[in-house]
C-alpha cells in the first residue's frame, strides 16, 4: 500500500479562505494535547498563552512592538513571493538596515536636530534595499539562485554587525560591553501613546501593508506582479519585464526589512548590540504565508505570531511551562498551515498495489 497526493479538479474557495483559521484551531488542539501530556491543565495553559497577553493595555503595546517588524518584513516578502522571487534573506536586510540607519546617531551623538530621525529611517531603507540589490543583481546578471545568495548574505550581515559593535562602534564608556552608546533622544523613534512602549514602527507596518494591498488590488504594478509570478511567458506577452520585476520586488522587500531594522533599533533597543533580532526575518516568512501573501492578511498573521512570543513568557510565569513551548507553537502553526494548503489542492489516495501485496499485508 502507498499513499499518493492527487490534484483536486476543483479547489474549494471557502476552504482556501478558512485554511489559516483551520490551521490555527488545529494548532490550539495540538497545543492542548501537548500541555495535557506535560501534566498541565490544557485550558488554563492555552488561556495564559493566547488570552492573557491580550487583556492588558501595556501588553497590547508589547504585542505591537513584536508584530511591527514581522508585518513590515512580511508584506515586502509577499511581493517577492507573489512575483516568484524567493528572498529568504530578510534577516540580513533587516540587520544592514539597522546598521546604515544607525550611522548618524553612532558617529554624531552630539547632533541634536529633528532632522536626524527621518534621515536615519531613509538610510535604513536605503541600506536594506541595497543589500537586497545584491541577490537581485546576481540573479539578473548571472542567473544565480536568489534563495541561496540572499540566505548566505544573512550571515555576512550578522557577522559584520558583530564586528562593528565589538570594534569601531563600541561605546568607550560601556564597561567593554559590545554595544554602542545609547542614541540621543532625537534619534529615538518615539512611542505612539503614553500608555505603553509601542513606537511608530507599528504605524509604519500598517501603512506599508495598506499601501501594498492597494497596489496589488488596484494598480497595474500589482497586476504585473501577479502575472509575472504565475507565468513569466504570459507576462512577456503583456510587455512586462521579469528582470525589472526581480529588481522591483527585491528592492521593495529589502527596503521594508531595512525600515524594520532601524525602527527596531531606534524604537525598542535604543542602541546597537550584537543581537538585535530573535529571527524576525525568518519568522516573517511564516507570517507571509500564514497571511496568504495578502498584505491585509499579513497584519493579522503578524499579530498571531507576535502573540506566540509573548504567550510563551506569560505561560512560563503563570503555569511554569518551559520557554521552548513558543517555538513549538510556531512550528505547529507552520506545519498545519502547509498541510491545510496542501490538502486543499490535493486529495490523499491510498493505492493498493495489486491483490498479491494485499494478501501479504
Amino acid at each position: 500500500m502507498r499513499i499518493e497526493l492527487q490534484k483536486r479538479a476543483r479547489v474549494s474557495t471557502l476552504f482556501s479562505v478558512l485554511s489559516p483559521l483551520l490551521a490555527l484551531v488545529l494548532t490550539l488542539i495540538g497545543g492542548a494535547i501537548l500541555f495535557w501530556a506535560l501534566g498541565k491543565n490544557p485550558g488554563s495553559a492555552l488561556y495564559s498563552f493566547f488570552i492573557e497577553p491580550l487583556l492588558e493595555v501595556w501588553s497590547l503595546h508589547e504585542l505591537a512592538v513584536k508584530a511591527a517588524p514581522l508585518i513590515l518584513i512580511a508584506v515586502g516578502l509577499s511581493i517577492c513571493y507573489r512575483s516568484n522571487n524567493w528572498n529568504i534573506g530578510a534577516e540580513g536586510q533587516f540587520t544592514i538596515g539597522a546598521i546604515t540607519g544607525s550611522i548618524l546617531p553612532v558617529l554624531y551623538p552630539e547632533w541634536h536636530s529633528p532632522m536626524i530621525l527621518p534621515l536615519m529611517l531613509l538610510m535604513g531603507i536605503a541600506g536594506g534595499a541595497l543589500y537586497a540589490g545584491i541577490p537581485a543583481l546576481l540573479k539578473t546578471r548571472f542567473n544565480t539562485n536568489e534563495i541561496l545568495t540572499s540566505l548566505m548574505l544573512v550571515y555576512i550581515a550578522q557577522l559584520f554587525l558583530d564586528w562593528l559593535v565589538r570594534g569601531p562602534w563600541r561605546d568607550p564608556q560601556g564597561y567593554n560591553f559590545p554595544q554602542t552608546k545609547s542614541f540621543q533622544i532625537e534619534a529615538v523613534l518615539p512611542e505612539m501613546l503614553a500608555s505603553g512602549r509601542a513606537h511608530w514602527g507599528f504605524a509604519f507596518a500598517i501603512i506599508a501593508a495598506v499601501a501594498l494591498w492597494f497596489m496589488m488590488r488596484f494598480m497595474l504594478k500589482g497586476f504585473e506582479v501577479q502575472v509575472l509570478g504565475q507565468s513569466e511567458r504570459a507576462g512577456r506577452f503583456a510587455g512586462f519585464s521579469a528582470r525589472r520585476m526581480v529588481w522591483f520586488s527585491m528592492l521593495v522587500s529589502g527596503g521594508l526589512a531595512g525600515l524594520a531594522g532601524i525602527s527596531e533599533v531606534s524604537g525598542s533597543i535604543g542602541h546597537v548590540q550584537p543581537s538585535i533580532s530573535p529571527g524576525y526575518g525568518f519568522t516573517a516568512i511564516i507570517v507571509a504565508f500564514l497571511g496568504r501573501l495578502n498584505p491585509l492578511g499579513i497584519i493579522a498573521s503578524g499579530l498571531v505570531l507576535a502573540l506566540t512570543y509573548l504567550g510563551g513568557e506569560a505561560a512560563q510565569l503563570s503555569i511554569g511551562i518551559s520557554d521552548k513551548v513558543s517555538r513549538v507553537f510556531q512550528g505547529l502553526l507552520l506545519f498545519f498551515v502547509l498541510s491545510c494548503d496542501t490538502l486543499i489542492h490535493y486529495r490523499i489516495r491510498l493505492i493498493f498495489a495489486g491483490s498479491q501485496a494485499e494478501a501479504k499485508g
Binding site: 488542539i29 491543565n41 488561556y47 488570552i51 513568557e313
Partner: protein
C-alpha cells in the same frame, strides 16, 4: 464543515471551561529572571538552586515564579515589566546585562522591590548584590601553579568588564604567590552562555599548550574539553564534578540561597532596604567545592588560604603588585580599595594577553 464546527466548539469549550481558575492566594511572589537555562550547570543553575532553597525555607509564605533564557535587551525589559505587573513583590534580575532594563522598570514601579546581581546602578527600590568571586579565584590560582607542569594556565573569559578582569588578575596573583613566573593565557568567548563557543575557546587554549583550564562562562563545556584532553580544570558557579570526575580540582560554587533567604525575610517583616552588597567567602555567598584530584599538600595549602581569607588575614589584592606594563599599582602591604576593584580595567604583570580596548 461540520467537523470544523465541532473542532471550534471543542476548543472554545476548553478555553472557557478552565479560564475561571483565578488563584486566590495570599502568598507573596518572589520572582527571578534568568539569562540562561536553569539547567545550564553553571551560573543560572546556581541562582536556581538558591531559589529552590528559598522556596524550601519560606515556601509557606511565598511562591517563586521565574523566567529563564531571557535575552539581554528589549526582551528583558518586557519580561521584567511583566513580572512587576504580575504581582511580584520583589524581582531578582540575575545577569549583569539586565542592568539598564532593571533600572528602567524599577523607576516605573516604585512599590515593587528589585535586586540586580553584579551591577553598579542602584535606586530607592533597587538594590544590588554581588559575591567576591575573586577570593575563590586566588585559591584556584595557587592550586594551578602547584598542579601545572608547564607553568601556563588558560582562562576562558566572557566580556572584558571589570568583574571578569578582576577575576583574571586574582587568579594570576594566586598563581604568582606560588610560582613567580606563572603565565596566564586568556581567550575571550564574548558570551556568557554558549557551549559551542566555550568548547572552541577551551580547545584553542589547550592547543596553545596550557595544562590547566579555568573559565568565567556559564556551561560545563570547557570542563568536558579538559576531561577529553586529560588536563585539569576548575568549575565555575556550580560544582561541575559530574562533568569531569577526574578533571575538576575545585570549583567556585555560588551559594546564593542564604542571601535570598535573608533578603526575603527582610522583605516579609518590612525591614528591606536598598543596599549595595558585596559579600565573600566568610559570609557563605560563595563556597569552594571539595578539593579533589590533587595531592594532600596542595589540598592543605588551599584549605589554609581559604581559612586565611575567611578570617580576614589575607586579602588577595595586597601589594606589592605591578601592572602589566611593569609600573607600580600597589605598594608593599597596601590593599586595593573596593571601588578600584569594581572598576578594574587593567591587567597585572604576568597575564599573557592584551585587554580588548
Amino acid at each position: 464543515m461540520k467537523k470544523l464546527i465541532i473542532a471550534l466548539a471543542a476548543s472554545a469549550a476548553l478555553l472557557g471551561g478552565f479560564s475561571t481558575g483565578a488563584q486566590a492566594q495570599e502568598k507573596k511572589k518572589v520572582c527571578f529572571i534568568y539569562v540562561g537555562s536553569k539547567t545550564d550547570g553553571g551560573w543560572t543553575q546556581a541562582h536556581d538552586r538558591g531559589r529552590i532553597e528559598l522556596e524550601k525555607a519560606l515556601g509557606d509564605k511565598i511562591e517563586t515564579p521565574f523566567l529563564e533564557s531571557v535575552p539581554e535587551g528589549p526582551d528583558a525589559e518586557r519580561a521584567i515589566e511583566r513580572m512587576a505587573r504580575s504581582g511580584c513583590a520583589i524581582v531578582y534580575t540575575t545577569s549583569f546585562g539586565f542592568m539598564d532594563a532593571t533600572v528602567k522598570v524599577a523607576a516605573k514601579f516604585p512599590d515593587v522591590k528589585f535586586e540586580h546581581a553584579t551591577g553598579f546602578k542602584a535606586g530607592p527600590n533597587l538594590a544590588t548584590y554581588n559575591s567576591r568571586f575573586y577570593e575563590g579565584r586566588y585559591i584556584q590560582g595557587q592550586i594551578a601553579a602547584k598542579m601545572s607542569k608547564k607553568g601556563v594556565a588558560g582562562y576562558i573569559a566572557s566580556f572584558p568588564i571589570p568583574e571578569v578582569v578582576m577575576g583574571i588578575n586574582a587568579f594570576e596573583l594566586g598563581a604568582k604567590s606560588v610560582n613567580p613566573d606563572f603565565k596566564l593565557k586568556v581567550v575571550w568567548a564574548n558570551t556568557w552562555f554558549d557551549p559551542g563557543k566555550e568548547a572552541d575557546a577551551a580547545k584553542a587554549l589547550v592547543d596553545q599548550g596550557v595544562d590547566i583550564l579555568t573559565q568565567h562562562t556559564d556551561t560545563t563545556a570547557p570542563m568536558q574539553v579538559a576531561a577529553e584532553r586529560g588536563i585539569f580544570a576548575f568549575g565555575q558557579a556550580s560544582d561541575m564534578i559530574a562533568a569531569g570526575p577526574k578533571t575538576q580540582l575545585t570549583a567556585i560554587v555560588d551559594t546564593w540561597g542564604a542571601y535570598y533567604i535573608k533578603r526575603t525575610k527582610a522583605l516579609l517583616d518590612g525591614s528591606w532596604k536598598s543596599e549595595q552588597i558585596w559579600d565573600g567567602l566568610k559570609d557563605g555567598i560563595l563556597t569552594m567545592a571539595p578539593y579533589t584530584n590533587m595531592p594532600d599538600d596542595v589540598k592543605a595549602m588551599a584549605e589554609e588560604t581559604e581559612a586565611k581569607i575567611k578570617s580576614g588575614e589575607l586579602h588577595p589584592f595586597t601589594g606589592p603588585i605591578n601592572k602589566q606594563d611593569g609600573s607600580e599599582w600597589l605598594k608593599a602591604g597596601e590593599k586595593a580599595e573596593d571601588g578600584v576593584l569594581l572598576g578594574m580595567n587593567f591587567y597585572i604583570q604576568g597575564v599573557d594577553d592584551k585587554l580588548p580596548k
